[in-house]
Subunit: 239 residues, 4 copies
């Protein structure tokens, strides 16, 4: 939620500063605000969460790809830790909500992917395959770090409704300590890999424009994902 | 444009028969009909063709990927021949039209990708990377073979307007002998690789449902691409 | 250590039965026998273990690749579990031995890879990238399942020296329950993926000859790895 | 064949200057000298050429991979041009020699790969898949540019035997204008991509040590390939 960055800032802050409007559109999206005040229509949340479950399968694959693309055991371990947090931590949130709606994991896996979902996940995976580890981590950053920022901001915001908010579990997962640690470790890896590949001033590298283009595209694909959440298909989530 | 397939049919016919409505929606799309009768609004065609130029860059990469994923020199040569036809043949059509509008190749390469374009190309590339050569060829089939079918049908259709149709070059390229040969060779490779990996009755393989899912997804992404063509962004193609 | 297989056998047994001499050369190699009777020269073991540490980095990357190439969450989870067992379990054996020799993890990571090591790891990774998940699991099988078989056989063999054998830790790790469970789960995944992609009779699939060629190559590369262990470079492992 | 490089030199010269002994061992190998004076034993040449045919299949796949990994149409076209030169040009030399020995293309494709061959090709492919386009082009450089250098040097060397040298075709292919153009274009791409990713002083990039390690490994794998050529298996190449 920052629109400018100074030289002292890390790579993540400087990437955000290259697309401040897109970043604000993502982190301050109506979907997010309505999670915060508890006014989001339930079919929207159901549709979002079901798609996000499918999304996480491909995001887990993307962190597996990051482990494959690593040159050092440190990077393999970090990518594996994030992968493990996704499939053994974050996804439990989805399964818990879905169980509450009478949906099994098998039901979830059988849903068709929305186009915005497919576009985002395949974009990230393909970027990681055609580029190097840094291209992949930059493509992953808007999701893994943005959700940390959104969760933290919602918890810190005095207007967020904490009582009787059906989405409180969501807010507490992404704003909570466990996810914040996952995000901090992912951010530390991004900073480290960026410096190891671009040198002490990443913005001076000839790769910087390409990396900011990737970051901007992934951020806009996040906006599209929230838009999708606000427009569940007719009949979805009824009964 | 076929809704049923018998055992004697090849893999391509049998794939189409698993999603006849999607296939008809693609090959008989309003965009196609309006190319045929020459009534397509020029901004739609410009927007489509500019996006298709970006699309072909990624499709060329997908055929390069097919060459990489080949086990035999025969498959490397066939994929390279298709790649060569794309970048040294088909793209010339785009450059010719675009030159007529005062657009250089550099202008074209600088356009932002529409989301439907990004979704389709990255889906195909990722399918090829996570699967094997057959998964990739099946994901590529709706485009390379479908365009051949569309071009052939338009040329054979007595209602197609051949005089003073601004899109005649497009129709003649895809319906013409050179492209038909490219498509026939691509189809022959699909049939050959399918049998080499699935055996004499591909539909009996446990992989068949997954392959038909890929084919159906790619076909629907083609429909989305035509839809995109009918909805150019405001101001595009004016002047 | 089986030279024939019947229809009732699983895919792993049937793969072994296609290259019985190579499999025997691998699992009954002089290096293995000398681990068992404790007569292996220490420089050989040091050289082997240092190379095996580098090997495991690339094998961890290969299991990460398997997670990426998975179509189902079940396969992602299984590949991640094996990956985790490699980097957080098996590698501890190497670090423990190496610490006993005064070698740090950094020292280990800085050693140059022997050519046999490079050949084997890159072969497996490339097979996984150009093929599908099954090609990759078949390329991985001789290592992950072969070590389980070797460890189990050494522990069961009455001629194995259990007292004062400097290599007892190695034998107990690979013959022990924890590793045997890792191997059993990896084997179950191989059987499941093979049937899901080849049908109930994998040997009748047109892919079978290619898969047996991969399995045979990987087995011979294991033989080369033991050969390498018996021939440490001059001066290696001296105090 | 250069052991030092100044700042004015291109990336290729500066890469060579980081491993002058390996580069000299490769370009001045006994196999090369014996091609030049025509004293190479024919079974060695046959064995080398048959393995090199298999090598070129994987090298063609590596250039296809470079086309896939390209961000620009210019790089796709250049990689495709090199790919085309390999499969439609260079390989004709192999087929011509082999036809002279009564070997068909099918015979060649059926030969087992020597381990040095497998190690080299899979190393290059895997480097390209786990890294970016530049990592791949650096891994490819010792082969494509080194053969150009070797061919040119042999043709320029007054001690090279031009009459009654059974290997004259080989020398003339790699020293000849057509191959020299392929090599020059590949070198230009390496220089261009290096500057586009590392900036005006590539050696100052934090990636430089990793790139020189890749170049050094590939050069040593070329030395291993010549060594392999000098040691055909017993009975190979006998009438």
């Amino acid at each position: 939620m920052v629109a400018s960055a100074s030289e002292a800032d890390g790579v993540f802050e400087r990437l955000k500063a290259t697309c401040p409007e897109d970043w604000a559109a993502y982190t301050g999206h109506a979907f997010v605000r309505n999670l915060g005040d508890g006014t989001l229509a339930e079919p929207c949340f159901r549709w979002y969460l079901a798609q996000d479950y499918l999304f996480l399968i491909h995001f887990a694959r993307a962190y597996a790809l990051a482990a494959f693309k690593s040159d050092t055991l440190e990077d393999i371990r970090q990518a594996t830790a994030t992968l493990d947090a996704l499939i053994n931590g974050e996804m439990q949130l989805h399964l818990k909500y879905c169980a509450g709606w009478g949906l099994t994991e098998r039901d979830m896996a059988a849903l068709p992917e929305a186009e915005q979902n497919l576009a985002y996940t395949r974009y990230v995976l393909e970027r990681g395959l055609s580029g190097d580890l840094l291209d992949l981590l930059v493509a992953l950053a808007p999701c893994v770090l943005g959700y940390g920022e959104i969760g933290r901001a919602l918890l810190a915001d005095p207007t967020t409704r904490l009582e009787d908010n059906p989405y409180l579990d969501w807010i507490e997962v992404y704003g909570g300590g466990e996810y914040q640690e996952v995000a901090a470790a992912a951010q530390a890896q991004l900073e480290r890999v960026a410096r190891a590949r671009l040198g002490p001033d990443p913005t001076a590298s000839p790769r910087w424009p390409g990396l900011t283009a990737t970051f901007g595209s992934a951020t806009r694909l996040e906006v599209g994902f929230w838009d999708m959440g606000l427009a569940p298909p007719a009949g979805f989530g009824d009964a």
